[in-house]
């Protein structure tokens, strides 16, 4: 295989009560790395990392950063503090980037307002990111915001900082677009990839969220086109599985192995 991609798993998908148990489950299923959330006990994470040999290449502060565009200034300040903590966690773990949800648009937070607030908050985290050498990876999620890949690229570029980048989720754009187009447009801004499946067929038959209820390689993600775009932009690094769906009645540890095998198939396309 010519491409140099490593296989990671989203922390919450791994069964287990303790950090170590989750790391062990991920390792046991064949993953090379794991994406933990921020704000865990750093020592505990480091011990689990070293004991299992897993690599922590990215840290998620999704829950904290969602408030970057909150109407309440105190909540926005907490979100900025959360992003900074995620940066420090990442530095400690040797991760090269963090996953940041750049706020979001709601009925109460208009698009233009969300844009301004998210940039204002994130700018406060940029100096620390630059100092630590950890990049901010803004993720496209279902937050009604940065819906265009051109706008997403512009949003990153407006920071004029090497620390601003993108954490691209392949499955999250399929209800409105095509991930291979996003990958080519975002190009070198992409720090990390999330792999997720989506079915337009289910979206049309059963509803928007029902589109996620599909097995890897059985939805409408054009994985060969995605991998071609990944190769074209010269991306080398992590592809982290973030399953949005769990089939009923399957043991979580067994499911993790299934996901690992699906990832192998995708990465070999």
């Amino acid at each position: 295989m010519s491409r140099n991609l490593k296989k990671g798993i989203w922390y919450a998908a791994a069964p287990g009560k303790t950090v170590l148990e989750k790391f062990q489950a991920a390792r046991g299923a064949g993953f090379d790395g794991i994406e933990p959330p921020s704000h865990l006990d750093q020592e505990e994470v480091l011990r689990a990392r070293d004991k299992t040999g897993l690599i922590v290449a990215t840290v998620s502060c999704g829950q904290h950063s969602r408030d970057l565009s909150h109407p309440d200034a105190a909540k926005r300040a907490e979100a900025v503090a959360g992003v900074k903590q995620a940066l420090r966690d990442a530095k400690r773990y040797g991760a090269t980037s963090i996953l940041v949800v750049p706020g979001g648009v709601t009925e109460a937070v208009a698009y233009a307002v969300a844009y301004q607030r998210a940039q204002d908050g994130l700018r406060q985290a940029v100096p620390l990111a630059e100092e630590l050498g950890v990049k901010l990876g803004f993720e496209n999620v279902w937050n009604h915001f940065l819906l265009s890949p051109l706008e997403a690229a512009r949003f990153v570029d407006e920071f004029h900082s090497p620390a601003a980048g993108w954490h691209f989720d392949v499955g999250n754009v399929i209800y409105l677009g095509w991930p291979d187009q996003w990958i080519r447009i975002l190009g070198p801004r992409i720090q990390k990839l999330h792999f997720k499946e989506y079915s337009r067929k289910k979206m049309k038959q059963a509803g928007l969220r029902a589109g996620f209820a599909v097995e890897y390689l059985e939805g409408d993600n054009d994985w060969p086109a995605v991998m071609k775009a990944v190769d074209e932009i010269g991306y080398h690094g992590w592809a982290t599985a973030e399953p949005a769906w769990q089939p009923k009645g399957v043991d979580p540890a067994e499911r993790l192995k299934q996901i690992s095998a699906k990832m192998d198939q995708i990465l070999a396309l």
């Binding site: 208009a110 698009y111 009604h144 706008e151 996003w182 447009i185 049309k204 509803g207 928007l208």
Partner: protein, 302 residues
């Protein structure tokens, strides 16, 4: 005197002022729902008029239902349309292009783009002939074969070629937000328009089309004076989520998830004066047309 002439006269302006709720005493009877609250005209998109008959017969049915105007399709027999318009007493404020889906200005084949451009130019000429102030254009289409950035560049390049004619005719090109997977952000939509640096381009805002991923009142405030026309359409997030994406449109006006008071507040805030046109199912019988007109009247009275 039709309603438009009435509104243009001083008496109309006075009547409107007199009807503002703030001027009504608490014990007075509130205005009837049908009372015009704003100088906004009611129209219907021609393609949604399903009653059988000739152009004239359809126009008469539209008028009878209570609409003041209709958004024609391009590439019709201009003389027939004009005769019917005058006989029915309707206004044609907008013309919708015929070919922008089949021959999009974003198409990879320059020949197809050239045909799409020629069709846009004919739409502009139709509009001029009918006295319409703008044309509805789907500016481009993003799909598996046409990438977002290519659609952006190609469509702008083609539209630029039509701007001299639009400026000469005094008819604006109004890009509509539709389900074309393109210009998905209201900020981007505004930027797209502004990049032309021309007074001859604006927006044709469809209220219902953005509800799948946003809020129309936000779009209205962001697009502001760029908005030339409105399409009035309903969408139900509930139906979308329980029955499938497109089922979201299968809902009557004021029975879905459009926040109409918020939409009308935004319409007022940007100082919009002009036409709103329904683009809804149900217009295939006289009763259906009347129901659409009545619901539109209720929305405008919010």
């Amino acid at each position: 005197m039709n309603r438009r002439e009435f509104l243009q006269s001083g008496a109309g302006a006075l009547a409107l002022t007199a009807l503002t709720p703030s001027m009504l005493g608490a014990e007075e009877t509130p205005p009837a729902p049908a009372a015009p609250k704003r100088p906004i005209h009611k129209g219907i998109m021609w393609a949604t008029v399903g009653v059988k008959g000739s152009v004239l017969e359809k126009m008469k049915a539209i008028k009878e239902a209570g609409f003041e105007g209709t958004e024609m399709m391009s590439h019709m027999d201009q003389d027939e349309v004009l005769r019917a318009r005058d006989a029915a007493g309707l206004t044609i404020p907008s013309v919708c292009g015929r070919d922008h889906w089949a021959k999009p200005l974003s198409h990879p084949d320059p020949k197809v783009r050239a045909e799409g451009l020629e069709s846009l130019k004919q739409t502009l000429r139709d509009a001029k002939r009918y006295g319409a102030s703008s044309v509805l254009l789907v500016p481009g289409v993003v799909n598996q074969e046409i990438a977002y950035n290519d659609a952006y560049q190609r469509s702008q390049a083609e539209i630029r070629k039509a701007l001299p004619l639009a400026e000469e005719l005094g008819v604006k090109i109004a890009c509509e937000n539709v389900w074309n997977n393109f210009l998905l952000s209201p900020l981007e939509a505004a930027r797209y328009v502004d990049e032309f640096n021309s007074p001859a381009i604006g927006w044709h805002f469809d209220v219902g089309n953005v509800i799948n991923y946003g809020w129309p009142e936000q779009w209205i405030r962001i697009l502001g004076p760029r908005i030339q026309k409105f399409h009035i359409k309903e969408f139900s997030r509930t139906k979308r989520d329980s029955q499938g994406l497109w089922k979201g449109f299968d809902v009557r006006l004021m029975e879905g998830d459009d926040n109409w008071p918020a939409v009308m507040k935004a319409v007022d805030e940007i100082g919009y004066r002009g036409w709103v046109m329904t683009e809804q199912p149900g217009g295939d019988t006289p009763e259906g047309l009347k129901d659409l007109a009545d619901r539109l009247t209720r929305i405008l009275a919010l």
